[in-house]
Amino acid sequence: MQDEDAQGSTTAPRRLCWGGGALLLTACSGPQSVLDPAGRDAEVLAVLFWWMLGGAVLLWLAMNGLFFYVTRMKERAFSPQAADRLIVFGGVVFPTVVLAVLLSFALSEMPRQRDLGEGLTLRVTGESWWWRVEYRTEDTETPVISANEIRLPAGSRSELELAANGYIHSLWIPALGGKTDLIPGRETRMSLEPVTPGEYGGQCAEFCGESHAKMALRAVVLPPEEFAAWLEQQAAPATPPETETARRGQAVFLREGCGACHAIRGLGARGTIGPDLTHLGGRRTLAAGVLPMSRAALEDWLRAPEAIKPGVRMPAYGHLAAADLAALATFLEGLK
């Protein structure tokens, strides 16, 4: 009995330790991880991280090894000359050389992050609490407006102009690169060169108010041809609703004055306060990465946006008849 107890008390922390280690390791991969890079800029950061970590581990081992050596293995007084030499080499020369090497390495990796984009320019504006996204290429005369999703072509460097409306935000897509602040009244920039097509998570990384934690976004990296086709499709006006329910939804949309805040190009809604909804149904997520893009989620959102995103400026439409609400959700989901 006593033995069991003793055993239990030693294995429990060990299990916790292994469990914790495994938990930490699972955080290394995935769609929103600095350590699972999918772009050139994130690769640079991951390489820097691993080298710095390796350096820190080596130094830690060397320092503790030295402590162990002088306190446990060779317990004796040093001669003044030996002590002097240890201080000069261990305390001055060695750290200076190590810091110079690590600093030079880090700095030599940095210029690539400052390269200019080559063709596609995105303008990302931080709103409360969503992202306004505009795409410009050399061929497009007017920018293609979207929201809460950033799509980029793989294999080329895109320029991102960053602005903010109201509060300071920060755009961070860990799998693609570092983060940059979006500051009201100023224009900042970054550039990203994604390599691997896929879907990645992004997040506002600067506390910006009530729904800061719910200000996420999806970054979709596409092969260049697919991206071009997608952009062309986004530039087109919305397709008019085809089913009876969707047509009823459009009528509700217009009757309730949704167009005062939202734009649906081609269907007469021109508001610019909220996100452009022209191709809403084609996005991966709803409400800036918070909900999946589905009819049920749209209905929940329309009924009580405040319950999903505190402080949101969109009013609730829970007072609508259930059938109207469902029709509105069907109409919006159909805006592919």
Partner: protein, 120 residues
């Protein structure tokens, strides 16, 4: 002049002052050159010149501190007696060490301009 040195701290802190002035000047110059003209090469040239000047000045102060320390004539680096000679040599010793740290600091502050060729 040489005799008054045991009372003055200036010789000891001259090199760190050069580092501090270089630090402020490099930041101000880079910000100004990049914000007004976007002239990265101008900014880098200025940083290079300021860095050479700072390292030169520090070398002068280091040499003077070395002479004030006067290690070779007495071959003793313990200066703990309450005498003018010990005070003078202590200040020289400390000044030399601070000169070395300042030179490293100036080099590290200038390093980004060496590697990064744009204002972005």
């Amino acid at each position: 002049m040489e005799k008054a040195r045991h009372t003055s701290l200036w010789q000891m802190i001259a090199a760190p002052i050069v580092w501090a002035v270089h630090f402020c000047a490099v930041y101000a110059w880079t910000a100004s050159a990049c914000a007004h003209a976007g002239a990265a090469e101008e900014a880098r040239l200025g940083v290079a010149l300021m860095t050479l000047a700072a390292l030169g000045l520090i070398a002068v102060f280091a040499w003077r501190a070395w002479r004030q320390w006067d290690l070779l004539s007495e071959n003793d680096h313990v200066h703990d007696a309450p005498t003018d000679g010990h005070r003078r040599r202590f200040l020289g010793h400390a000044g030399l060490l601070l000169s070395m740290v300042s030179a490293i600091g100036v080099s590290f502050v200038a390093a980004p301009a060496f590697y990064i060729g744009s204002c972005l």
